[in-house]
């Protein structure tokens, strides 16, 4: 006791610095029983760092005999007993604690813990002053002309910010002034900034609304009651009305959120990993809805209102059309061939809102004032271009955002810490899943520990050689399988194509139309079978390789599946754009045929996914549970399923040009797929055992969706538009050399009609027709990306430097404290003799 008083005299700072937590019971800061008891015992000054003190005491007590008398005073002993009882089951960690092993005296510990960096976010006062600084920065940022008073106050943010006023006697008063400053700042912020600040403050709602009402009250004060001038009152009402409508708009948007309950159930049971599959599906759905709205409004609707005169009567509906997309459907708005190549002239369609919309910015509505008309070829051309352009922007944006979120600086550090603090998925609410998750975390921790402990497992060169051989064998198998599949598709499609041509030329054509139509399904079937079976082969290869880390395993699997899908789609694109487009003997339009093919592929892919779900998940579960008597359910393979989705989406993007209604089909497919997959997952699957890095994988999938999938599809579409001759008997571009000529012709016509617009024509000729500008655009894009990556790289370096600095400062601090401690020890020895003499007296 006497010693404490001594310290208080020596270090006035710590005495006062300790009061704050006890005073601020009311806020979120929770104080454990220890502190409560302590303050009851009238030992306010020791509330801080009690635990450390306690340990410290225990150690000192054991080792320093002379201190025994002073330490064994009543309440403390009592407390220690209680504490020991409470934590009897816990092992004594004193020996391992690095700081404790230095045996700081309690005084040093107190100083250590009242250091500015330690009090951030600790008490209400500290939080308030921290946010005071933030609002200050924000204000300065926004206004860039702070008053002198503000400047003087904010000149030393680090000191103000971290509660150094504690050395003034009354912390209460200090807090009140700080609150006032904060309120002051808050009301000087704009509305949205204020709300953002308020929301982000780690205070309770009650405290926040108090701050808010203070801030609002002061705003109103200058115009009390009825003296508000009319206009400002009006302004006030307008602001209020605006805010109300904004809130209701937000609620409306929120109510639009799709499948909230379903997603919650999935995430409650399977956690973030499986959820990411469904979220990806949702994203794709929105892409397709956008595509559908654009093509529907600008292509399908105008054409449906003005149906072209059809030459022959329509074929009867037989039911097979639903699968093949041919026959009855071939002469509908579904396909390219149905669209007319002339200007729809009767009256301007409703889309003609923007009648004078310039064409240069890519809008498809072209309603020249003099003769209200809708130029179908032009609309077709620009709608597709516009849709692809916007999709590209959205994709690149979401990709970069996702990149920013997931690939933070150095990922190799603090894996274990992250595993401990960030691996628990708070979303999961199902009991068995919770249990499974804790098992998973347990095994992962064990694995990580083992990895950390035996980092350098020596592999003999013989083993290495064996491994390399196994790897190369596995890759050889996979590449051979993929090549074989690609070749088989190549030859089969060639055979089918010749077969079709022969049949169409021979007079026996009408012999069995149904069979002929059904034979069209052979190619999509083959492709889907390959898509279904080859991943099995890849899994076999992966099993052979036996990768150590699960992430490498996933990446390899993704790489192989991607290789397969890209090569299949490459062969198919060659088949459609090279073979079919080149020598279709004018029987019908090849664009519609390709559109039908894509429809078939999409549909058969969907059916095979259903079969896979049924056989691979449902039947397999029944088999393994009933026959093999295993309790385990199959695991939902997120990566493979997402890749399937990407494959389907590529088909949809490829087909938009030939089948403007393909997005609608894809929407239906995705909707059905969501419900089927959801119920299948809930019924048949269990949560994945492997750890799954959600944000990284999501980034990878978005990237894959952008790079091979979307870019590939748009390259194909651009190629078709720019350099393939459209069929001469159907479609909006009949009679033209390329689809692209539609725009050129129109611009020339425009120039003829209206010489003033010749600039537009010239701009069009230069910008669109000249490949130079395309290259320049791409070059600029690449350069921007390059600079961006350079900036990120620089920031990374700075961050590592800063981290080094933090570590150095930690060492400095430690050094200083050691010095302090030693000096203190020297001083204490005479002082203690004195006090012990006093107590003996």
């Amino acid at each position: 006791m006497a010693r404490n008083v001594n310290f208080a005299l020596d270090y006035p700072l710590m005495e006062t610095g300790l009061e704050s937590p006890v005073d601020e019971d009311g806020v979120h800061d929770l104080f454990n029983q220890l502190i409560a008891e302590q303050s009851q015992n009238g030992k306010l000054s020791e509330a801080y760092e009690l635990q450390q003190l306690q340990r410290d005491l225990e150690e000192e007590e054991e080792e320093e005999d002379r201190d025994r008398v002073t330490y064994l005073s009543g309440p403390r002993q009592d407390l220690r007993e209680r504490r020991r009882q409470r934590e009897a089951d816990q092992q004594d960690d004193n020996a391992t604690d690095s700081l404790m092993s230095e045996r700081w005296s309690s005084a040093t510990m107190k100083i250590l813990s009242s250091m500015p960096s330690r009090t951030i976010g600790r008490s209400r006062g500290a939080i308030i002053s921290q946010y005071y600084n933030r609002t200050m920065q924000l204000r300065r940022h926004r206004q860039s002309r702070p008053s002198i008073k503000d400047l003087s106050r904010s000149a030393r943010p680090s000191i103000r910010g971290y509660g150094m006023e504690t050395d003034s006697a009354d912390t209460d008063a200090a807090e009140v002034t700080k609150t006032q400053y904060l309120v002051n700042n808050l009301q000087n912020l704009s509305l949205s900034d204020r709300i953002r600040m308020l929301r982000a403050m780690p205070l309770s709602v009650a405290a926040k609304s108090e701050l808010r009402s203070l801030a609002l009250k002061k705003v109103k004060r200058p115009h009390p009651g009825s003296q508000i001038p009319c206009c400002s009152r009006l302004k006030y009402y307008i602001i209020i009305a605006f805010r109300q409508s904004w809130y209701s708009w937000l609620s409306f948007l929120h109510s639009l959120q799709l499948w909230q309950v379903a997603l919650k159930r999935v995430s409650g049971r399977f956690g973030t990993g499986v959820l990411s599959y469904f979220l990806f599906l949702k994203t794709l759905l929105f892409f397709n809805v956008f595509l559908f709205v654009v093509t529907g409004a600008f292509l399908v609707l105008p054409q449906a209102v003005h149906p072209p005169a059809l030459s022959d009567e329509r074929r009867p509906f037989s039911g097979l059309e639903l699968l093949t997309g041919a026959g009855y459907f071939s002469d509908t708005v579904m396909y390219y061939g149905y669209y007319s190549n002339y200007t729809l002239r009767q009256h301007c369609t409703d889309d003609g809102d923007g009648q004078k919309l310039s064409v240069s910015n890519g809008t498809s509505v072209e309603c020249v004032l003099r003769h209200l008309s809708y130029n179908m070829p032009l609309a077709y051309f620009f709608t597709i271009g516009f849709a692809f352009f916007i999709t590209c922007i959205i994709l690149v944006y979401s990709m970069s955002k996702s990149f920013g979120q997931s690939f933070r600086i150095d990922k190799s550090h603090s894996i274990l810490a992250m595993k401990v603090f960030c691996s628990w998925d708070f979303k999961v609410i199902k009991k068995t899943s919770v249990k499974l998750m804790s098992e998973n975390i347990c095994t992962q921790l064990k694995e990580l520990l083992a990895e950390v402990n035996h980092k350098h497992v020596m592999i003999t060169s013989c083993q290495k050689l064996l491994k390399v051989m196994v790897y190369s064998l596995a890759w050889a198998i996979c590449i051979a399988g993929t090549t074989a599949c690609a070749l088989s598709i190549y030859f089969f499609s060639q055979y089918m194509h010749q077969n079709l041509q022969e049949r169409s030329q021979s007079p026996l054509k009408a012999q069995n139309p149904l069979l002929n139509e059904a034979s069209l399904l052979a190619l999509p079937m083959l492709v889907s079978v390959i898509n279904l079976l080859l991943p099995g082969l890849f899994n076999l290869a992966a099993w052979m390789e036996d990768y150590q880390s699960p992430s490498v395993c996933t990446y390899v699997a993704i790489g192989r599946n991607l290789m397969l899908k890209v090569s299949i789609l490459g062969v198919l694109c060659y088949h459609w754009l090279g073979r079919v487009a080149a020598d279709f003997n004018g029987i019908m339009c090849w664009e519609s045929f390709v559109g039908q093919e894509l429809y078939r592929f999409l549909l058969i892919d969907f059916i095979f996914t259903l079969l896979d779900t049924l056989l691979g998940e449902l039947l397999w579960r029944l088999f393994s549970q009933k026959v093999l008597k295993r309790r385990r359910k199959p695991v939902f393979d997120i990566a493979r399923n997402v890749l399937d989705l990407i494959y389907g989406q590529t088909l949809a993007w490829l087909g938009v040009l030939f089948t403007p209604l393909l997005p609608a089909v894809q929407i239906l497919k995705l909707l059905l797929l969501f419900y089927i997959k959801k119920s299948s997952v809930m019924m048949n699957c269990q949560s994945p055992r492997k750890p799954y890095r959600v944000s990284q994988m999501t980034t990878i999938f978005i990237t894959l969706l952008c790079f091979p999938s979307f870019i590939g599809a748009s390259v194909c579409v651009t190629y078709t538009m720019w350099s393939i001759t459209p069929s001469s008997s159907c479609g909006p571009f009949r009679g033209l050399k390329t689809m692209f000529q539609a725009g050129k012709l129109w611009v020339q016509e425009l120039e003829k009609d209206n010489p003033k617009l010749s600039i537009l024509a010239r701009a069009h000729a230069y910008l669109v027709e000249n490949p130079f500008f395309l290259f320049v655009g791409a070059g600029i894009f690449l350069i921007v990306i390059y600079f961006h990556s350079q900036v990120v790289d620089g920031q990374r370096k700075i961050i590592s430097l800063l981290q080094e600095q933090i570590e150095n400062e930690g060492d400095d601090k430690k050094f200083l404290i050691t010095r302090l401690q030693s000096i203190h020890e020297q001083k204490r020895t005479p002082a203690r003799r004195l006090t012990s003499q006093d107590s003996s007296c």
Binding site: N32, D97, G121, S204, A206, K208, R212, F426, C442, E807
Partner: protein
């Protein structure tokens, strides 16, 4: 907005909207969730700020928290009295922080509080042990727990004081991109 609700005044709703990450509709939905826990305790009229507190036993029995090993800590951290008994404000606060919209810093702050079992504003070894035991349901041996604790502190402790302060914790969280998606409870 068809039926005028009389649970809150407009001012109250505005205040809640400004102080949490919820829209009007979500606030009402959360109110009904809160009320469903104890319909006899919670009045349908909150305009006069009634002093109602639901005990921890009720809060902890929500399906969102029931099987969460940290449920008691969550309730304690977000309740004003520190014992898990929650007012409506606390309840809103809790789900606001755990919602999708909350920023990383706010989430990290409360996550830190949750893992700081003894409320000493540091995550020390004993806190880590408790966290680990809760995470793994006491499946790790004492030796393993000790080793994990050492490693974690070794990795995340930037200023070498043998325990994790809020700053250390936030530094670590910045590097964990999955934290934002896992520290999230869907309502």
């Amino acid at each position: 907005m068809g039926n005028k609700q009389t649970i809150f005044t407009t001012q109250q709703l505005d205040a809640y909207q400004d102080c949490t990450y919820f829209t009007r509709k979500e606030i009402l939905r959360l109110f009904y969730r809160y009320r469903d826990l104890a319909p006899q305790l919670v009045p349908l009229d909150y305009t006069s700020h009634p002093d109602v507190k639901l005990p921890y036993e009720l809060i902890g029995s929500m399906p969102e928290l029931k099987d969460n090993p940290f449920r008691q800590r969550i309730a304690e951290v977000f309740s004003e009295d520190g014992e898990g008994n929650m007012t409506l404000d606390d309840f809103l606060d809790m789900f606001s922080v755990l919602s999708e919209m909350a920023p990383r810093d706010l989430k990290a702050y409360y996550a830190f509080k949750i893992y700081d079992f003894n409320n000493d504003d540091f995550i020390c070894k004993s806190d880590l042990e408790k966290t680990l035991n809760k995470l793994t349901r006491n499946e790790l041996t004492e030796d393993e727990v000790r080793m994990v604790c050492e490693k974690v502190i070794d990795e995340a402790d930037l200023d070498n004081d043998g325990r994790l302060s809020l700053e250390d914790f936030q530094h670590m969280i910045v590097r964990a991109p999955d934290f934002l998606s896992t520290f999230h409870i869907r309502i």
